[in-house]
Amino acid sequence: MTKFMLLGLFDNVTTTATVVGEVRDLGIKDSEMEIMSNIPYASNIFGRKTPRQWFLPFALGGMAVGVLIAFFMSYITPRLYPIEVGGQGLTPVPPSAIMYFEFMALFTMLGAFVGFLLQNRFPILVRQMYDERITEGYIGVQVLAPSEAVMEQVVKVFENHHAAVVKREDAAGFPNQGMRHLLFWGGLGAAGLVAVLVPLLLTYDVVRLPWINTMKDTVVVKAQEGPRRAAPPDAVPIQGPVLIAGQPATERLPDTPESRERGAALFSINCAMCHGPAGNGEGVVGLKHFPETPPLDGERAAALSDDAIFLVITNGKNRMPSLAENLSPGDTWDIVNYVRSLGGAPAEAGQ
């Protein structure tokens, strides 16, 4: 015998309650009726029993999962990978309490939500009897009529109470969705679990991959250990340049008239007060030094290489302060070029 699914819409509560009573009188069980509304009406308003629900197992189950995770976090992991911190045990009580609280709270909420989804069989993946006017405030009464005769009687009840809409369809058009939602959430949950567990298997060393993940396994060169590696061409020593035989201190500027001109200007600012405007060691300050400031046009200066002069300017020597903060390497080379022009040996760059 074909069963029929009926839906009637009513615009107020009292009528709906009356209809529910009259349909029940036709021999239809409460479980074959369904009431839909856009407001959470309590069931006793329609003279029906409150629907049954089971949230305790879900909430408690979630809580148990939270306890296990917190235990794992605060007891197992510190023993697998102990970290000694002064004055604290591996599993001190106050931080453990925080872990238990947070994970229990999180998984109680997740458990309750899963309970909500599963008990309502969400998401509904099959066709359902519904009318869009329910979200406009109408109250829908869905009835599963076991036969055509009963269906006619129910329709009569609906019409007597001025139902706004009456729908009737073959109940075969509304299949039970069975386990489909379980498959949906099961698949999603399994995928999520895999996504969480696979990295954990790796990090807890359950699965060991031969990758270099510790600093102790990387290549190290100890202090004073040879061979000394060449510095990249543009490297600048941070503690000031050091003269290395046969190597330029930094890349030098070519000795050009422009460079000497700049050098002359910088010389008058930075050097002339001691070495003298002419570089002969008779500066205003230099004359008061003991031992006296060396002249820059004599043999002593001529004996120095350009790089050595560069380093003296940069690092200072004896009473001469370092000028590294005042002069850039380029400025220093300009001064070297200028000093060379004062006398002594010709610049090395020309050779």
Partner: protein, 485 residues
């Protein structure tokens, strides 16, 4: 004589008494109270759905402006990643600057959402009905933006996996004895819990949107509504789930900002090492959060034409809530300071330079914004129900609470036990741009969400309207509460 609206006619049909005197009172009640002024749900649905479809010139201008701020934030962040955290003004002593202050601030404004929807729900406060969703959205986006800041703050973003709570040979994680890990666990729990809580209450409204929209929206809503029809079983289970989530999420909410405060208080930095920091931060979070909710209420009321839903009574109630939170904050701040002052420890005295030193302007602005402004004005119902006044007050409170966080983080760090470590902190351009940019980012996400998410929890409003009743006593008609539980 009890007259329930939902009794024998649709709840939205008026029962106007014939007596002129009584009819006047009924009319007055409708003007005052949302729950006494039901419209047909079809009309209310249309108001909310139209407001979501409203994408006029002003909307796109706002998207453009906020998008520009978001781009500025992203560009600055990229520059900071390439050149290192040194481009900011952070230095050796002040290694926690505005980024951490922003983290605290954004988590803070997220607190009001849960408090309003969970605590006021359990207390059955009717005024929260049209507000709850707007507040919950602030929670979600506030937390999302806050979660960005540890990432921005670490500088070397490619080392981000150090934050993951997985054991490894570096033996850094999961050290559950670290306050940072407590905080991270609490924030994660809170984000997941408040998302579930919001989604649960959203289901009936998603079903409403599914039923009355077309095109791509209908497809999205149909998927998200999970097949909700509003059967007795569904409603009943939603009620139970909401109860469970409410009971659990309220302590979690307290734990989140306590966790944030413990990041500071578990160190021995003078000014931070204080037992009062947990509740003090929670009070501050609720204070700035309630102010943020009021700001959002004002903006959505003005721009989305929600004058019907968000009425004077709601601003009045929220203003009172704000006043109470202001008192609470004042109490905690005073309690923290008087302990320092009385203890008179040399290193803790250094922080008292706020009273006269270089931080004094910020400090007094904060006191003005957090104490003088709310306490001086919110006692008046006229102020509480005036939107421009509330807007100004809430902006002041945001500024005050932001300063409070910056002063606590950077101000206290700049004076520690060793005087050779004393430095002052001045923000550089990157922090300023990233901070302003993230405010824009938050506003942009909120703006876009208001076009997709039904921002008024309609079913809660309908429930309130259907269950609301009036009672006639003598010559007066008075509202009464009805509960169907």
């Amino acid at each position: 004589m009890l007259e329930s609206r939902a009794d024998s006619s649709p709840f939205w049909q008026p029962h106007d008494p014939e007596d002129e005197h009584l009819a006047e009172q009924v009319e007055h009640g409708r003007e005052e109270h949302l729950l006494l002024d039901p419209l047909p749900p079809a009309e209310n649905n249309a108001i909310v759905l139209e407001s979501m479809n409203q994408t006029g010139k002003a909307f796109w201008m706002a998207v453009l402006g906020l998008g520009g701020l978001t781009l500025a934030f992203l560009a600055t962040w990229i520059v900071q990643i390439f050149s290192g955290i040194g481009v900011t003004g952070l230095n050796r002593s002040v290694m926690w600057g505005p980024y951490i202050a922003n983290l605290i601030y954004f988590i803070g404004i997220g607190h009001a959402g849960t408090f309003i929807s969970a605590a006021l729900r359990l207390l059955r406060m009717d005024f929260k009905r049209p507000i709850a969703r707007a507040a919950e959205l602030i929670t979600l986006f506030g937390l999302a933006v806050a979660a960005l800041f540890p990432i921005i703050h670490v500088g070397r973003i490619w080392k981000l996996f150090y934050m993951m709570p997985i054991p490894n040979q570096r033996e850094l994680w999961p050290n559950f004895r670290s306050a940072l890990f407590w905080d991270m666990t609490a924030i994660t729990t809170y984000i997941i819990g408040s998302t579930l809580f919001m989604y649960l209450a959203l289901l009936p409204d998603l079903a409403m949107a599914r039923d009355h929209s077309t095109g791509w929206r209908r497809k999205i809503y149909r998927t998200l509504a999970l097949g909700w029809r509003g059967t007795e079983g569904e409603w009943h289970k939603m009620e139970s789930t909401s109860n469970i989530l409410s009971y659990v999420i309220i302590p979690v909410m307290f734990s989140v900002h306590t966790g944030v405060s413990w990041n500071l208080a578990m160190s021995i930095q003078p000014g931070w090492h204080s037992t009062v920091f947990g509740p003090f931060f929670v009070a501050g979070a609720l204070f700035s959060g309630v102010a943020a909710v009021i700001l959002v209420m004002i903006v959505i009321r003005k721009t989305m034409r929600f004058g019907y839903f968000l009425r004077e009574e709601h601003f009045n109630a929220m203003g009172l809530f704000l006043l109470i939170m202001s008192f609470t904050w004042i109490y905690f701040y005073f309690a923290e300071w008087i302990t320092n002052w009385y203890g008179n420890l040399p290193m803790e005295k250094a922080i008292q330079r706020m009273l006269t030193g270089d931080l004094a302007p910020l400090f007094y602005l904060m006191l003005f914004a957090n104490i003088v402004v709310p306490v001086g004005t919110l006692w008046s119902r006229r102020v509480r129900t005036s939107l421009p006044a509330m807007f100004v007050i809430c902006v002041f409170i945001q500024i005050g609470m932001y300063i409070e966080r910056v002063v606590i983080v950077s101000g206290f760090l700049s004076r520690n036990e060793l005087p050779f470590n004393w430095v002052n902190y001045t923000p550089h351009l990157p922090e300023v741009l990233i901070t302003i940019g993230t405010f824009g980012f938050l506003a942009l996400m909120y703006l876009l969400a208001t076009r997709v998410v039904p921002i008024i929890p309609l079913w809660e409003v309908y429930e309130g309207q259907a269950m609301q009743a009036t009672r006639r006593i003598g010559r007066a008609i008075l509202p009464t509460r009805t509960e169907s539980h």
